[in-house]
């Protein structure tokens, strides 16, 4: 594999980690959704590039799904939900942005230190791709725990999913990648429909899922 192909693949994968960091410090819902659309765009570019250099045309389907569903349809739907629920500017981080970013840097370092030594046999392409993918997954988890609001948790989950798609396409020749990405898209679509249909806001006056404890009936 020539050097340029590898470099471009790393550019996209590294770009995805960067966009994951951008997700961490957004303080407005609109900005968060736009950055997520960018996240999906980068992942679809990365998948399309993998399809090109691996000569695997079926991966173009995965790229198209990522582009169509996650970069266009879901951000539009989320924008509508946010406007309807009137929560454009309410992001309630559990800890400050500074600590979150520091934790994020730590997680990226961790994933590189974990993945690089053990993937020596897996080939150069898969090697860096996997450490980037694990970084994206861990950053997504960090986002899910550092936000209280349901919409930003969903975005965190979808960024985890983008990281998984990056990992799956980086593992050259993995069967069922398209099927898995379709299954994932259904999951994500259901989550978004879930927010919309369940109308968490209407029932609870807030999308803060912290209120769950009140419904447990465990308090005497």
């Amino acid at each position: 594999m020539d050097q340029i192909a590898l470099d471009v693949a790393h550019l996209f994968a590294g770009g995805l980690v960067l966009v994951s960091f951008m997700l961490l410090y957004q303080d407005r819902m609109t900005g968060l959704i736009n950055i997520f659309a960018l996240h999906a765009l980068v992942v679809s570019l990365s998948v399309a590039w993998q399809a090109h250099i691996q000569g695997a045309p079926h991966l173009y389907i995965t790229a198209a799904i990522a582009l169509g569903v996650k970069a266009v349809v879901i951000p539009l739907a989320l924008h509508r939900i946010v406007v309807r629920l009137g929560i454009h500017r309410t992001i309630e981080p559990v800890v400050g942005v500074g600590q979150t970013m520091l934790a994020g840097i730590g997680l990226v370092a961790l994933s590189i230190m974990v993945m690089l030594p053990i993937t020596a046999q897996a080939g150069t392409l898969a090697r860096e791709d996997l450490s980037f993918a694990l970084s994206v997954i861990l950053l997504g988890l960090l986002m899910m725990i550092s936000r209280r609001n349901a919409v930003s948790q969903v975005i965190g989950f979808m960024s985890i999913e983008n990281g998984l798609i990056l990992a799956a396409t980086g593992a050259k020749g993995m069967p069922l990648v398209v099927e898995i990405s379709v299954a994932f898209s259904i999951l994500v679509a259901l989550i978004v429909i879930g927010i919309f249909l369940f109308r968490i806001r209407e029932r609870f006056e807030t999308v803060d899922i912290h209120l769950l404890h009140e419904h447990r009936g465990e308090q005497p």
Binding site: V114, M115, P117, I118, T119, Q121, A122, A126, L130, A133, L134, I137, L141, M144, A150, Q153, F157, I160, E161, L164, A167, A168, A171, K172, G173, M174, P175, L176, E179, I180, A183, I186, L187, L190, I191, G194, F198, I200, R203, F204, I209, L211, L212, H215, R216, G217, E218, P220
Partner: protein, 475 residues
Amino acid sequence: MIYAILLIPAVAAALLAVLPDDRTSARLNVVASLLTLACALVLLVERPAPGPFLIVDDLNVVFIVLSTLVGFTTSVFSASYIAHELEVGHLTPAYLRFYHAMYQLLMFGMNLALLSNNVGLMWVAVELATLTTVLMVGIYRTPAALEAAWKYFLLGSVGIALALFGTILVYLAARSVLGEGLDAMAWSELVEHAADFDPALLNLSFVFLLLGYGTKVGLVPLHAWLPDAHAEGPTPISAVLSGLLLNVALFAVLRFKSVMAANPLALAPGPLMVSLGLLSVVFASFMLYRRQDIKRLFAYSSIEHMGIVTFAFGMGGTLANFAGLLHMTLHSLTKSAIFFCVGHIAQIKGTQRMADIRGLTASHPVLGWGLALGVVAIAGLPPMGIFMTEFLIVTSTFAREPALAVALGLSLLVAFGALLLRLNGLAFGEPVGSRAPAQASFVPIALHLALVAVAGIWLPPALVAWFQHVAALMK
């Protein structure tokens, strides 16, 4: 036959989604589940050769027969439960149609996960099963039900995402040995060639898989979704969640465990499973004391028992594996029987608060004694079968790790105390609340409890030989 097990639920789900009449659909649900059970029983004698996607082997046949059996009995219970829900107006006919279609889709997902010979396909199937249960947990649309469904959804999705990353790593480990393509994701090939895989990659993948699928097993500290999902959904779903879906997730962990065990250089998977299992048992048995909601009580008891089973499989060895497998089977039967009773009781009393339910043996003798018998079984009293399996697990652990056995035995006692304390309040004393006669289906309850009682007294030699064979295979 192997295709019939998948086709019948799939076709039934499509039919039930369009059938308008609720009586017919409840009956169709029962018939489809019975047919699936019949096909699963055929697999016991006639076993097709493994293909690239589907496989029947000694291990999964146990799970399939158990799963279709409990699926069938639960559909019988569900018919009477749902009729009552429709009567009191908790559910509308449109929701009912949705409910029945989802029930069969759940059966399809679980059977596919158990039968799949491909790690990717199994992942998709577990995801499908998760989604259908999420939708059913939220079906009452009360604030509590929606919140429970949402919590289950988020935690389940994160778990399933971690499991997918682990699956990708397994493929990478296998690819350098088996080459690209379907072979590198097939169980039959993975186990056979696991000795040549890169141990470091396998280690990392197992951590992700254990945490990912472990979330779905309900292992502490990943259990947070489980009590809420059990308490707020319809009771037939609590029964299949506890009785079946947790087993399916555990089955996935066991499959990967056998891959790990086949590689001498890889991390031993046992200690990880033992620690998570023991933690679950200790935590859940103390949590049993403070419950006020009857379904939550038994949900925590499910966490405890899945912990025991994980512990047993983690200890490994033929005896512990045998006990673990039997314990899992008996727990599924007992816990679903308990949920059948609890479902009818909660409907009659109109509440799930244990403080408002008393004196059941006087007001509703059959349900009350059924519940009492179920709780006696689940608490591990002789002569019921669970006493025997718990005894086997504790004694076999004593021989190898006495300290662990003491911890396990003590928490079993703690759980025993909590369950009997609650049972005393529920079943005996002066009855309170409604004394309306139960429109219950007693056959599933009686069948399950009878099987558990018989297992405690006399196990058919054929069954023992079968389970011992499977236990020896699992290493």
